[in-house]
Symmetry: C2
Subunit: 236 residues, 2 copies
Amino acid sequence: MNPEAPESDFPEIRSLDLFSDMESEHFKMLMRGAYVQNFPPQIELISEGDPSDFLHILLTGSVDLVSQWNGRTTSMARVRPISTFILAATIKDAPYLMSAHTLEKSRIVLLPSQDVRTIFDSDSKFARSIVNELAQCYRSVVKNTKDLKLRTSRERLANYLLRQQKGAGGAAQFELSTEKRRLASFLGMTPENLSRAFKGLQTHGVTVTGQNVIITDQKRLVAFANPSPLIDDRSI
Amino acid sequence: MNPEAPESDFPEIRSLDLFSDMESEHFKMLMRGAYVQNFPPQIELISEGDPSDFLHILLTGSVDLVSQWNGRTTSMARVRPISTFILAATIKDAPYLMSAHTLEKSRIVLLPSQDVRTIFDSDSKFARSIVNELAQCYRSVVKNTKDLKLRTSRERLANYLLRQQKGAGGAAQFELSTEKRRLASFLGMTPENLSRAFKGLQTHGVTVTGQNVIITDQKRLVAFANPSPLIDDRSI
DNA sequence: AATTTTGATTGATAAATGTCAATAGGTAAA
DNA sequence: TTTACCTATTGACATTTATCAATCAAAATT
């Protein structure tokens, strides 16, 4: 690979599904306008309702996407490296529907939205990748809606734990990757109710102490949670 | 316009945002493989989990998209003419996340998913349209999630009525376009609870008799509903 | 180490929502 | 018309979830 090529400066980005197939020249153009910044924790990166000037790419750290209405707040999603966020707003040149703030020290690439739209129009490989990414995002939100509408809070927690377990390698013991109050908000319940949901899962094969989760009875938990690939398998 | 062109056979489809910009030759190819069918009411068009063989376009009638889990069912969306549905599954060649059934006699175009994907790859205008459509769909689902997580059932109903009113022209009186039990399911509540929510809105400027809705006090309803463009404006 | 702050948990209670059963009303079929 | 069926509504009650207040635990700060 040519060491002069800009992709050598951004190998993590170039290797993302979204950018891996596009033409080298176009990738260069995109990266010429890119800003890379380090943000401390608890920084408001973008605010709900603002115009979408940049496509964001999280390189390290983590970001919470939240929405507000009438003084209430809910966590909509957790972004983990390496992935983009707020792609749809960038594409549509429409206001952000969610706010984003860092949870830890985070390294983030900002790509001017206008550049993304321009290159999209002239690079069909890039266009294909954007469509795949958007379709994936859409299906994730649909699955989340099904989770919210079809399950009780305890069932949502049980299935969340099974998904986390899978993501952590499948062992019976793993750590929660999230503060409990944020997890509660993401799952659509209060922190108090999350505590009670954890207690309620004790009889279904789960023990939690602090961040530590132990699935003491996998079969029992699966029987209770009844996970479905059409809700819980985030890869299809 | 050339009367021989196949678009003359499908003017309603050609005029859809999704197809209006694509090359004539590609549109012809798409339509060559198209089936147009009339379905009676209450027909299951597609089932959750099935492979997505066709992109569907609703020409007349109406379609309900529902999802199930553990014996529970919820209405995810209502499709009205003229629009496509289940685009993301077609693009990703992934199983449907929702079932679809007709609510009334419906005329529906079926486009083989493989054709859509093939032409997508060779027509950048079509690709652009698909991206716009997907981004729109994504944002709609996000708004719906915000509605579900941030509002009580009564607040959801109040805002739904304001959106319906706007869609019906803005007059104080309009008809519900949906059976109440389906509306209840779509709004994420039981039919009983919907009845009570309607009653609860009487003191906030709404009177409902049968399908007939009268906003007796617009200001009062708006004050209670507190609609937000970032949830309720489905065009941005 | 002591203090302060923050998050988690618990108990008591309230509010929201769901379930069940009964009834009313309207529509469609016989 | 009569009957049958389906939907909507209502009341009583159960369950789920949220709220409030107090306490506890852990982490951060002084």
